[in-house]
């Protein structure tokens, strides 16, 4: 009994710093500036400042920025699923010279800190006139670490699956692409779901690449936008910044509540390879 109580106390202490920031973010998002640093701190605002939310959309084209994030993440997700299905299937099922070497080479992208290749990438993309466009934010994750992780997961999935079904389809005269489209893709649905979650979150949450590649405010994605609510001296407008951060976090948290199992398993699986 005493042990039980002690464990609960320790649990609450451990989880508190993981939950408290969300509560405080939500509360500060609705506080007027005067209350932001009031002492003693209050979780419930005395005056609810709904206008913080409209300020978020007035000071920056935030709706546009959300749209940028949404369509970029959607593109990254779709392309990652498509490419990783093709190459993951090939690496798992087909025999060809250089198979292990090429796969091994791909895996190296998983170990590579993004900062290492960022300077040459910037120079290359500047030469191609692609700086200050959304193209880098789509191709970098699709062909970089996120895409490689996806291929790794899809390959592993097919390796754990007996090939009999596909062989039967082959005897029925279905070609390779037909097999991938009609047999492999439906079979791999659960793993493609995991890949989609990983790809979408990676894109939605990325900060370094949009910071480096984007200049125009209307092209910003959400993670960069939420940091840009400042006054004329560059000092953060805390309540507006918290409101923007809360708005940006809400959809992801909502998705997490709705698909907790799926999201937890996908991320844990991808990170424990």
């Amino acid at each position: 009994m005493a042990l039980r109580v002690l464990l609960y106390v320790l649990l609450v202490l451990a989880v508190a710093p993981l939950v408290f920031p969300f509560l405080w973010m939500a509360s500060s998002a609705l506080k007027p500036p005067a209350e932001i640093f009031s002492y003693p701190p209050r979780l419930i605002p005395q005056h609810v400042a709904w206008e913080n939310l409209s300020e978020v959309f007035r000071l920056q084209p935030f709706a546009r920025q959300i749209w940028n994030s949404v369509y970029i993440a959607a593109a990254v997700t779709a392309l990652t699923c498509a490419l990783s299905l093709l190459s993951g299937y090939a690496f798992a099922r087909l025999r060809f010279p250089g198979r292990n070497l090429l796969f091994f080479l791909l895996l190296s992208a998983l170990m590579l800190p993004a900062e290492v290749t960022l300077i040459p990438l910037f120079k290359m993309l500047r030469l191609a006139n692609l700086v200050d466009t959304h193209v880098p934010l789509i191709i970098l994750p699709v062909f970089g670490a996120t895409g490689v992780m996806a291929t790794f997961l899809i390959r592993q999935f097919f390796q754990s699956l007996p090939p009999e079904v596909e062989e039967a389809a082959q005897l029925d005269g279905l070609g390779r692409l037909g097999i991938i489209w009609h047999i492999a893709m439906p079979l791999a649905r659960p793993m493609l779901g995991a890949v989609a979650i990983i790809a979408f979150l990676a894109s939605w949450n990325s900060y370094l690449e949009p910071l480096v590649f984007l200049n125009r405010v209307e092209l910003f994605t959400v993670p960069v936008a939420i940091t840009a609510y400042t006054d004329a001296t560059g000092h953060p407008l805390w309540n507006v910044q918290m409101a923007a951060t809360a708005i940006s976090t809400l959809p992801v948290l909502l998705a997490y509540v709705l698909a907790r199992r799926q999201i937890t398993d996908s991320l844990a699986h991808a990170n424990s390879r």
Binding site: F91, T249, I263
Partner: protein
């Protein structure tokens, strides 16, 4: 023959993209590191090993960033692994509400690093900041966290460590579930106390998972950027400038892309070394089992 052709066709989109986005930049960064390349100047000249020489013998900021990276990464791994291991061990005991605690611990995992950093920066404001207000309830007067050298480094380390505790706890929990019940039962029958069971039976069985988690966390910690950029901007006076952030600063703020490339090569070599250690350790583990 046909199979080979089909295979190459299927993997070609990803391999070509990989070539352009990973392989060529990786080779280019090595080449750039031997030049005086600058973002503002059109042409770069070869300068041999000058950048590396400057780095090692003339730039005190380099050694400082290496030390800072070491402190940051070690601190992050220890806090992250100890907390997640603790959570997993406790939640594995089928406590009431375990699922809720786990779900709450997972909230920061799905949140963006930028949002996590922005909120913590707000909480850690010196005067009137929430953390300090809470500390003052216990009559502790907290430092101006992000503007004093040691507190700033401690703050970014802890904030970065907290972000993925939930994820690592889930990974540890999966490992705990795969431990055969017989091993634990046998120890209990032999009269081992609860503490002994945890220490002598469960923890050793978790060792391989722990190794994997430590290595993944360590490699991940080398590419920390968002927290540093958004919470301290590398300061105060470079106290939180880790190697990865120094690359960004040199390359994109000071435009010294040649020198930044040399720093990038160093970061790459360190990461490579760690990956080699990981392989060696995994191999050793598999053989000894």
């Amino acid at each position: 023959m046909r199979e080979t052709l089909t295979a190459y066709l299927l993997i070609s989109p990803q391999m070509l993209g990989f070539l352009v986005v990973v392989l060529i930049p990786l080779i280019t960064v090595l080449v750039l590191s031997f030049t005086d390349s600058n973002l503002l100047a059109p042409d770069a000249r070869s300068v041999g090993l000058d950048n590396y020489q400057t780095m090692v013998s003339e730039d005190p900021a380099f050694w400082r960033s290496v030390v800072t990276t070491g402190i940051f990464s070690a601190g992050l791994v220890v806090i992250n692994v100890v907390m997640s291991l603790f959570l997993a061990l406790v939640l594995h005991r089928k406590l009431r509400g375990a699922q809720l605690f786990l779900a709450l611990a997972f909230l920061p995992v799905v949140t963006s690093q930028a949002a996590w950093a922005v909120v913590w920066r707000f909480l850690l404001q010196g005067e009137g900041g929430t953390v300090n207000s809470l500390l003052s309830v216990f009559s502790i007067s907290g430092p101006n966290w992000l503007f004093e050298a040691k507190p700033a480094l401690a703050a970014v380390t802890v904030v970065a460590a907290l972000k993925t505790v939930g994820l690592k706890a889930v990974i540890f929990l999966a490992a705990l579930r795969s431990i055969p019940k017989e091993a634990v039962e046998a120890a209990r029958l032999d009269g081992a106390s609860e503490w002994q069971v945890q220490r002598r039976v469960i923890l050793p069985l978790l060792a391989p998972t722990t190794l994997v988690v430590v290595i993944i966390t360590l490699i991940g910690s080398f590419q920390v950027f968002d927290y540093i950029m958004l919470m301290t901007n590398g300061g105060p006076s470079h106290a939180t400038t880790v190697l990865a952030f120094a690359i960004y600063q040199q390359g994109f703020e000071l435009m010294r892309t040649g020198y930044a490339s040399a720093l990038a090569v160093v970061l790459f070599v360190i990461t490579l070394g760690l990956v080699a250690v990981q392989w060696w350790a995994r191999k050793k583990w598999v053989h000894s089992e």
